[in-house]
């Protein structure tokens, strides 16, 4: 129970910090909208196939930009203070939960923006929402952990991209397939298999993050 309490307090802290730095999330939202705008003024006519690919690429880049600050927005002495107060497991879990919430919000807002600018080719909305949910979860686990690693290094922003992009490729390929099915671009009879694969990858990543994070934070 102690862990749950710690996590909820840390989550409240995260939300408070986000609220005080409203420009950060505003910046990410502006980033998404302007990316979509640039892409669509360049391509003009968008087939469902292109829509699907663009949607996930925009989400991918927006997520990296949103999560790169996870461990650098507060200064290191304050982080040390947190670590003396609470369990590192609670810290990484709270970060992951908070970040998946953030990415979920981001994805739904991008979905709304996409619908506004480029129409909505999604045929099976439930399945598409499921893809967004699993995607935000997977992205948040991987990016949060890599943000923790790259925060320790010198050039963290570049490192974040080169370390995390190869790692999320299995997730993004499965997501593309799942959402292509939701757009009825392909008829997949074994959707549950893709969902299970995504869940298995997420589970593997979160288990590794759990085990390894305690080694990461102490300096």
């Amino acid at each position: 129970m102690n862990l749950v309490r710690e996590i909820s307090i840390l989550l409240q802290k995260e939300i408070k910090i986000e609220w005080r730095q409203k420009h950060a999330i505003g910046g990410i939202l502006l980033y998404v909208v302007s990316t979509i705008f640039v892409v669509y003024s360049a391509i003009k006519s968008v087939t469902p196939n292109v829509w699907n690919a663009l949607f996930w690429i925009v989400i991918l880049f927006a997520s990296v930009n949103a999560l790169v600050k996870s461990f650098v927005q507060e200064n290191s002495s304050r982080q040390l203070y947190y670590y003396t107060l609470s369990n590192p497991t609670a810290i990484i879990l709270a970060k992951i939960i908070y970040n998946s919430g953030l990415l979920l919000l981001l994805s739904f807002l991008s979905f709304a923006a996409f619908t506004l600018f480029a129409g909505n080719p999604v045929k099976d909305t439930g399945q598409f929402y499921l893809a967004i949910f699993l995607g935000s979860l997977g992205f948040s686990i991987t990016f949060t952990f890599i943000a923790a690693i790259s925060a320790k290094a010198n050039n963290s922003a570049t490192l974040m991209a080169i370390l995390s992009f190869p790692l999320v490729i299995p997730i993004i390929l499965t997501l593309l397939k799942l959402s292509a099915n939701a757009l009825r671009l392909l008829q997949d009879t074994s959707v549950w298999k893709d969902i299970l694969t995504l869940l298995a990858i997420d589970l593997l990543m979160i288990a590794m993050a759990f085990i390894l994070f305690p080694f990461l934070w102490r300096d």
């Binding site: 991987t142 952990f145 690693i149 320790k152 290094a153 010198n154 050039n155 490192l159 080169i162 370390l163 992009f165 190869p166 790692l167 490729i169 299995p170 390929l173 499965t174 397939k177 298999k193 893709d194 694969t197 298995a200 990858i201 593997l204 990543m205 590794m208 993050a209 390894l212 080694f215 990461l216 300096d219």
Partner: protein, 369 residues
């Protein structure tokens, strides 16, 4: 000179054998796999057959081009059959040996096929006492003009050619596949590199875990050395695969081929590991964080190489992209070279890693970097 040699043979001089036997074994196994893998000839086979389609109730002269065959050395006549199924076959009325590599067989195709279908597909079997027998499965299409309803006429005509008295040769040969032909030997280089890369990466991971549990820098150096060798092996595996792909699939790089792309991504992960290492000044910090990343990346690599490829189809052997070798892809003569090659390259990789490790330790002592 002789006395010097003899003094070398004293038992205490062989102590180095007890320490370095695995290096010698590795080199011997690699030399063995090179010699056998490149020198053992392929089984005699058939590389092309003309014509590829026939009609019923007409005669054909079929030209057969052999590979590694010596038809002129056959004592008895070379026999050729068209095999429809397990009970229906048609023997050639006459065969003529043109030279060692080519053969002409005359066929009188009966009026009906032993089936109700318009088109039947037959396999070609060639047999003689010198080269043994070879089969080209499902290669010639035969079209019938009219269909025999109760199949009696077709069935009785096709039962004439009994296949029997087949010569099988028990020589040490590698199998002949039309699409692969001599490139089948690449199996002893391309695939062992993947196997030994994986073994060496696992060794690197155990050293990373060792570092995290003991905080001794030597584990970090060992882990780095293993990872470096594993990455080099991965690049060699990719390059040998690309050469093979050019020969059999017609292109160096195929975006349809999931395993190829996943491997490239896995190598990107390991290259980024080295970039991560170079972005720290502090030894302890570099060791700890790169150990954490390499364990995390290894888990992701398992998903990349062993989960995703099973979900989609692949050009690689094994059904449905299954990254395994089936009984069709590897026969006993190939196993005899393939497994020693894996062990040999792994031992050589460990040797290379130990050299890199010693170099790193010296560097640490002398230049402190």
């Amino acid at each position: 000179m002789i006395r010097f040699c003899l003094s070398n043979l004293k038992p205490r001089k062989f102590i180095f054998m007890r320490k370095y036997w695995w290096k010698i074994l590795g080199v011997i196994l690699i030399i063995y796999s090179f010699t056998l893998g490149l020198l053992v000839p392929l089984k005699p086979g058939i590389s092309s057959i003309d014509p590829g389609s026939m009609r019923t109730a007409s005669s054909y002269q079929m030209e057969i081009v052999g590979y590694n065959t010596f038809y002129t050395r056959a004592q008895d006549a070379v026999r050729v059959w068209l095999k429809y199924d397990s009970i229906h076959a048609l023997a050639a009325s006459k065969t003529r040996v043109v030279n060692d590599r080519s053969l002409v067989a005359d066929f009188d195709i009966p009026k009906y096929l032993p089936t109700n279908d318009r088109v039947g597909v037959v396999s070609v079997i060639v047999d003689d006492d010198y080269n043994g027998f070879s089969v080209v499965p499902s290669t010639v299409f035969i079209t019938q003009d009219s269909v025999d309803k109760d199949i009696v006429a077709g069935s009785s005509a096709w039962k004439q050619g009994r296949i029997g008295n087949i010569h099988s040769k028990d020589q040490f040969n590698f199998p002949f596949r039309v699409q692969l032909s001599e490139t089948i030997r690449n199996l002893y280089f391309h695939v062992p590199f993947w196997f030994s890369m994986f073994i060496i990466f696992i060794a690197g991971i155990t050293q990373s875990i060792g570092y995290l549990s003991t905080n001794k820098l030597e584990y970090d150096y060992k882990s780095m050395s293993f990872t470096l060798v594993g990455t080099v092996f991965g690049i060699i595996g990719l390059c040998t695969g690309m050469i093979w792909a050019k020969d059999t699939w017609g292109t160096y790089w195929s975006w349809q081929e999931v395993k190829m792309n996943m491997t490239a991504i896995a190598l990107l992960i390991y290259l980024s590991y080295f970039i991560l290492r170079h972005s720290f000044d502090d030894d302890e910090r570099r060791a700890r964080i790169s150990a954490v990343f390499s364990i995390f990346a290894f888990a992701a690599m398992i998903a990349l190489l062993y989960v995703v490829p099973r979900m989609v189809s692949s050009l690689h052997p094994g059904s449905g992209g299954n990254p395994a070798l089936g009984a069709d892809d590897l026969d006993n003569s190939m196993r005899l070279v393939f497994y020693p090659a894996i062990i040999g390259w792994t031992l050589l990789g460990v040797w290379m890693a130990s050299l890199i490790y010693r170099m790193q330790v010296l560097r640490d002592k002398l230049y402190d970097y």
